[in-house]
């Protein structure tokens, strides 16, 4: 039986006055596994990592890390883990080596062991040539690598990575992925990471946990999650959602090939059997209802579709947290973490337990169409029920498909073909399938 490296049961963290950043969250990470926490800003990812790494207290629940209770055996937990937070935390006015030496001392390591470990890690992260340079001269990617190297100096069994590639360009991101993957494969390091990048969760992790409103909505392998979305994904974007577009939605979801629908502001996500063959039929429904489609794309389901299904918002639309250097964040803002943020943050998008994923509710469209748009109701229902699960269909679909024979028999209006051709049909959205 595989041992559990991290076991979280009923974790609840409430920020005053009643902001439930994490709400009865359960999570298990097996030894040697990479688990990615995927969720919108304010979903509770960072708070979960902070609680598991002894950085913040919590109001309820049990957190066992490497066999130790974080509440009663915090010292043992700290010795067993390495943590890389969103802010690098390394000193810019020290050299890479000095940072690592200090970190080794803080873990009460012997000098010879520290030196040996620095050689080993600087070589592993390809920092040999710059290890004696001041960190202020490092690039963002090098700083991140040094940060991870510092977190590994004492040979932890578990590594927490909070947005490890935030602010890095794609080249550096991929380099870091290679290192993280190697750490897991070669050294059996258990890794719990949070990320906004779908590709990161998809490529790196064995398991993905989608978190929303402080709760885990679903945990599974990336492939299983993607397979849970049956068929292809068609995203229809409208300039404006009026009566015609609502009628299109109404009739579209009655088509037998439509397996699921999700509204996201003025975008309608449709999960379709054999999308390539059925997109023309779908366009016919749009034409019949005189729905003005601004954009249409067809792709295989990605983790974004899974994310959308469980959180009601696309991760591609969530505001990316700034990967600014600390001095930019510092300028005029004061502290930017934990207690600091909760007391002084002015609508900071990163504030845990925030309502960012409810932003659609405040959109002009949502206000104008309150109580009218069926997608609105579905989303409400999905959120209340923890989103629809595999195989679950909306009542309209369950009660029978294709009730509108009239629409089915209507022919594709050739006059609309020009509009259709102008629409984007990108089968490789998000880079397509792996």
């Amino acid at each position: 039986m595989t041992n559990l490296a991290i076991q979280i049961k009923g974790l609840t963290k409430i920020y005053p006055p009643d902001n439930r950043a994490v709400d009865a969250l359960d999570l298990e990470v097996k030894e040697g596994e990479i688990m990615a926490l995927l969720g919108p800003n304010g979903a509770g990812k960072s708070t979960t990592i902070r609680a598991a790494s002894t950085l913040c207290g919590f109001d309820d629940g049990n957190v066992i890390v490497s066999g130790y209770d974080v509440d009663t055996h915090s010292l043992e937990v700290r010795q067993a883990i390495g943590v890389v937070a969103q802010q690098t935390g390394i000193d810019y006015f020290l050299t890479g080596r000095e940072n690592m030496v200090l970190q080794g001392h803080l873990y009460r390591m012997k000098k010879a062991d520290i030196n040996a470990r620095i050689e080993e890690l600087s070589s592993y992260f390809e920092l040999d040539n710059s290890i004696d340079n001041l960190v202020s001269a490092y690039s963002g990617g090098m700083r991140r690598k040094l940060d991870i190297a510092c977190a590994l100096i004492h040979r932890p069994r578990i590594l927490f990575l909070d947005e490890p590639t935030l602010g890095l360009d794609i080249k550096n991101r991929k380099i870091l992925w290679k290192h993280i993957d190697k750490l897991n494969k070669e050294f059996g390091l258990t890794i719990l990471l949070t990320t906004h990048y779908l590709e990161e969760a998809d490529n790196l992790s064995h398991q993905v946990a989608i978190i929303n409103n402080g709760k885990v909505q679903v945990i599974d392998t990336p492939d299983a999650l993607k397979n849970s979305i049956h068929g292809d994904s068609i995203t229809v974007t409208f300039d404006d959602v009026g009566k015609n577009e609502q009628a299109f939605f109404h009739y579209a979801q009655q088509q037998s090939y439509i397996k699921g629908t999700t509204w996201e502001d003025n975008k309608l996500h449709l999960y379709v059997e054999d999308g390539g063959a059925n997109v023309a039929a779908l366009m016919a429904v749009a034409t019949d209802n005189d729905a003005k489609i601004a954009n249409l794309s067809l792709s295989r389901p990605t983790l974004d579709d899974v994310f959308l299904k469980y959180t009601g918002t696309s991760i591609l639309d969530t505001k990316e947290e700034e990967g600014d250097e600390w001095w930019k964040q510092w300028a005029g803002k004061g502290g930017n973490t934990g207690k600091w943020k909760s007391q002084w943050g002015e609508g900071d998008s990163d504030s845990e337990g925030g309502d960012d994923n409810q932003a659609w509710k405040n959109s002009d469209w949502a206000k104008e169409n309150s109580g009218v748009n069926p997608g609105d109701q579905k989303r409400e229902e999905a959120q209340q029920n923890g989103a629809w699960s595999e195989g679950k269909q909306w009542p309209e679909q369950q009660s029978g498909n294709n009730t509108s024979g009239e629409h089915k028999s209507q022919k594709w209006d050739q006059s609309q073909q020009g509009d259709w051709q102008n629409n984007e049909w990108n089968k490789n959205r998000d880079g397509g399938e792996k």
């Binding site: 802010q87 004061g334 600091w340």
Partner: protein, 250 residues
């Protein structure tokens, strides 16, 4: 805890040594006071046999300590924002050592600044007792005052959680504390109500103790009294800062 304190102190000293100008910048204001105030008031304030410059130097040293140590909290906030404090907190390092190392670093810095100020005053012709033993005793007072105010600055940083109010409080406190003490004028020159405040002001005890040992006729009784009060002040401030830091958990 001592080893942790040493390693962290070492880090802060290393960073300071890489930015020596910062240490010198904080000397500008006390230097202006010494040069301008000393010259302006030297004939105005009649102190019998003692020259005003010599009288004023202990006050300027204390001012140097206040200006220097009040920045300690600002750098703590910077470290919190940069994630450096979190990096320490996830390690098994002693929490007391984190505060202690910062406070000791700040005190070491103000001692270096005080030595420079003392040398400048001596070069300018202030009458001072330059016996190394008495100079060391004066620096002991500077150290304790530095510990006290650096700890207060760190404590306020955690309580206020933002740089702007911290700097504002630092600036607001410094001058009144100086004026409500015997730093610039002898106690007998003060109105009764200021004398009352002065008696409760640790700055007065620090100034009197330094003045007592830098005088050509040292008074160890006054020094002893100052040493006792400042040890209590430094201890209490440090205890408060450590308590505030230990509560620093979301």
């Amino acid at each position: 805890m001592l080893a942790d304190t040493w390693h962290l102190f070492n880090k802060y000293m290393r960073i300071t040594m890489r930015m020596p100008m910062w240490t010198l910048f904080t000397l500008i204001q006390p230097l202006i006071w010494l040069l301008i105030f000393g010259q302006l008031f030297k004939d105005f304030v009649q102190l019998g046999e003692q020259d005003y410059m010599g009288f004023m130097v202990p006050g300027i040293l204390v001012m140097t300590v206040l200006f220097g140590s009040s920045w300690s909290g600002v750098s703590l906030l910077r470290e919190i924002t940069a994630g450096t404090v979190d990096k320490m907190l996830v390690s098994p390092v002693s929490r007391v050592a984190i505060v202690l190392s910062r406070v000791l670093h700040s005190s070491a810095q103000v001692i270096a600044q005080a030595v420079i100020m003392l040398l400048v005053a001596w070069i300018l012709g202030a009458t001072l007792n330059m016996n190394p033993i008495y100079l060391l005793m004066a620096m002991l007072i500077v150290f304790l005052l530095g510990v006290g105010f650096a700890a207060l600055s760190n404590g306020f940083a955690i309580a206020l959680q933002r740089e702007e109010p911290l700097v504002m409080i630092g600036n607001l406190m410094t001058l009144p504390l100086i004026f409500f003490s015997s730093a610039l004028v002898p106690e007998q020159f003060m109105p009764d109500w200021i004398q009352l405040i002065s008696a409760a002001n640790p700055i007065s005890y620090a100034v009197d103790a330094i003045r007592a040992v830098l005088s050509t006729t040292p008074d160890l009784a006054i020094f002893g009294q100052g040493l006792m009060v400042l040890t209590l002040f430094a201890g209490a401030s440090l205890a408060w800062a450590v308590t505030a830091f230990n509560a620093l958990r979301d």
